[in-house]
């Protein structure tokens, strides 16, 4: 017998306290993550901000961003005033105040000057590797999406590429070291002794020598490109597949060749997707330390990469500094003190801002493209 009065509950709802418990537990865990993020960013911003922001226009310490990295000298002069000067200014000071005694001198490696070298190195590595990865990645994606027949073999190839994405970056670093740094082919007139194989070329005196590219921008870009290739290939293939089949049918039906169809009716419409997805890969490239440790990065470098080169292409075979590696150096190789904090936290903050800008940029671009590309 149905009694409508039963619809009205007496007392608390069933499982009231259990619900509250579960809810606060789940919520608590979530906010714990936020707390960790806030603490992390808060610490870096509070300690790093003084290094890159100033109270006067333009509010950014341009010197920190544009000056070369130097050793910091800390000392007292005869009057007891404490000076903190990067090596070059320290030398000027010593010259200007010749004969005066200085006291309590301490030096801190990498802590003076700015971080222009690492910023430029990271920019070069990122650009180079993205160009390489886009070229090879898009080629592979076009083959997989447009030409390859769906067979078990192609399935295995795709799986292998996906698996590549899971390999730890240090392994890529070692791979890059053994392949690009030690074994990749170069064309040279005088092969080194440790060359694995020397093939004489038809032009007199020149030979193809498998002696590697040494630790260089080129080797670093190639290694980083290998690391993000799976991401680029997968993202590109998806973008290509997202182009409606009707476009291909129409183009073929009008007498287009396969390649004409891909070039004019598929690639232009998938390019925005390919580029935005690849921006995420840029974030990853910019942030990696392990792959460049053995292949491209140096802790200290007096010149910018383009300085003192006989021809502009030599930049490819020069070593560079890089932000993540610089941060590693600052954190692991020098003792932390009040004088090193500016460089340490400043570098990390600059790095975080760069990476955040890239990710944010890719998110905005992606949202825009999604809106624009509808069919």
């Amino acid at each position: 017998m149905f009694n409508p009065e039963n619809l009205i509950r007496k007392g608390l709802p069933k499982g009231y306290f259990k619900d509250i418990l579960v809810r606060s537990l789940l919520g608590g865990i979530t906010y714990l993550m936020v707390l960790i993020a806030v603490l992390l960013f808060g610490k870096i911003i509070i300690d790093g901000a003084p290094a890159i922001f100033t109270s006067e226009f333009p509010f950014v310490d341009t010197e920190f961003l544009t000056a070369k990295n130097e050793t910091l000298h800390v000392f007292d002069d005869a009057k007891g005033t404490r000076h903190q000067l990067p090596a070059s200014k320290y030398n000027e000071y010593i010259e200007a105040h010749a004969g005066q005694q200085i006291y309590n001198e301490q030096t801190f490696s990498y802590s003076g000057g700015g971080i222009a070298g690492p910023i430029i190195g990271t920019a070069l590595l990122t650009c180079g590797s993205i160009i390489l990865a886009l070229f090879f990645g898009v080629c592979a994606a076009i083959y997989l999406a447009e030409y390859a027949k769906q067979s078990p073999f192609i399935h295995a190839v795709r799986l292998a590429i996906l698996n590549l994405a899971g390999i730890p970056s240090i392994v890529f670093g070692l791979f890059g070291f053994s392949v690009f740094v030690l074994a990749a082919p170069v064309i040279t007139a005088n092969p080194v002794d440790r060359s694995l194989l020397v093939l004489p070329l038809f032009i007199e005196g020149w030979a193809l020598s498998f002696q590697g590219w040494n630790s260089s921008l080129m080797a670093g870009c190639a290694t980083l490109a290998c690391m993000i290739l799976p991401v680029v290939i997968t993202a590109s293939e998806e973008s290509l597949r997202a182009v409606p089949q009707g476009f291909r049918d129409a183009s073929l039906a009008m007498g287009g060749t396969r390649w004409q169809t891909i070039r004019k009716c598929v690639l232009p419409f998938s390019l925005p997707g390919i580029l935005t997805s690849s921006l995420l890969a840029i974030t990853r490239v910019a942030g990696e330390t392990a792959p460049i440790m053995f292949t491209a990065a140096v802790a200290a470098k007096d010149d910018f990469p383009w300085e003192g080169l006989a021809n502009p292409f030599d930049i490819l075979s020069s070593q560079v500094q890089a932000l993540p590696y610089h941060i590693y150096t600052l954190a692991a190789r020098i003792p932390s003190s009040e004088y090193t904090q500016r460089a340490q936290f400043g570098s990390v903050l600059v790095f975080l801002i760069l990476v955040a800008m890239l990710s944010f940029g890719s998110m905005v671009l992606r949202a825009k493209m999604r809106k624009k590309l509808k069919w």
């Binding site: 129409a250 039906a253 009008m254 007498g255 004019k264 419409f269 590309l373």
Partner: protein
């Protein structure tokens, strides 16, 4: 009256699945041939053989018979497929303009055929749009996106695009399937105009449409050609009981 397409004992398969069995018919030039029949009976497969767009599917192949377009066997080894498709245009079931401007859509076929002279392309675009009865509606906004057009206009744009390269034969695979009755009417009017210039092959689910705009009708069922003849005869006095049953609506 010359024959544009001559199909002889054609059998066609997707992998091991036979889609067409021993189909033979002639399609006269400058006439409309309509294919009717229930879904999956092979009508679309058949017209997709005529411009070899089925080549895309790697398992699809002709197992027997020939298709001749103006006397040339188009499944010969040395056929120039691009040229064939330029001569045998196609309009698809779902209108599929490119995500480009109206102008670029129509110019596409000309450009990939190697036409570069700007004024030649301009003229050809205008001519095609006029022939597709679309010029009056879009002539003043050629450089806006094709996606801004209504469904019926987009389909007529696809027709304009297909006839821009001046094909001999125009294949239409259920061109009105995604359109409302008014847009359908306009396409049908267009078909009766176009048949003065082109041989038209149309696949349709709409029997009234086949009756209205075709000269010859072929009824297909389960991959076989059941009956082909002048449209009047097929609809008024079919000789095969299956055709009669389909047309009168007793099945299908």
């Amino acid at each position: 009256m010359s024959t544009a397409v001559q199909i002889q004992n054609l059998s066609f398969a997707y992998g091991s699945k036979q889609a067409l069995h021993d189909v033979s018919l002639d399609m006269p030039a400058r006439k409309v041939t309509a294919f009717i029949g229930p879904s999956g009976c092979g009508k679309s497969t058949l017209i997709r053989c005529i411009n070899r767009i089925n080549d895309r599917i790697s398992t699809a192949h002709v197992t027997a018979g020939t298709i001749k377009v103006h006397g040339i066997d188009i499944y010969r080894k040395d056929i120039n497929i691009q040229e064939l498709r330029r001569r045998v245009g196609m309009v698809f079931q779902k209108y599929n303009p490119f995500a480009k401007s109206i102008y670029e859509n129509v110019a596409y076929g000309l450009r990939i055929a190697g036409m570069t002279n700007r004024s030649d392309i301009d003229d050809a675009v205008e001519k095609s749009l006029r022939n597709a009865a679309l010029w009056d509606e879009v002539g003043d906004r050629l450089h806006t996106s094709a996606f801004g057009l209504s469904g019926g206009q987009q389909q007529r744009l696809c027709i304009a695009r297909a006839i821009a390269t001046e094909p001999e034969i125009l294949l239409m695979d259920e061109p009105c399937a995604a359109l409302d009755p008014l847009a359908t009417l306009r396409i049908e009017e267009l078909i009766s105009e176009l048949k003065k210039k082109f041989t038209i092959v149309i696949v349709t689910h709409n029997m009234a449409q086949a009756a209205r705009c075709s000269d010859q009708t072929a009824f297909m069922y389960l991959g076989k050609l059941v009956e082909v003849g002048p449209t009047m005869k097929i609809f008024e006095n079919p000789s095969d009981p299956q055709t009669e049953a389909y047309i009168t609506g007793s099945f299908g």
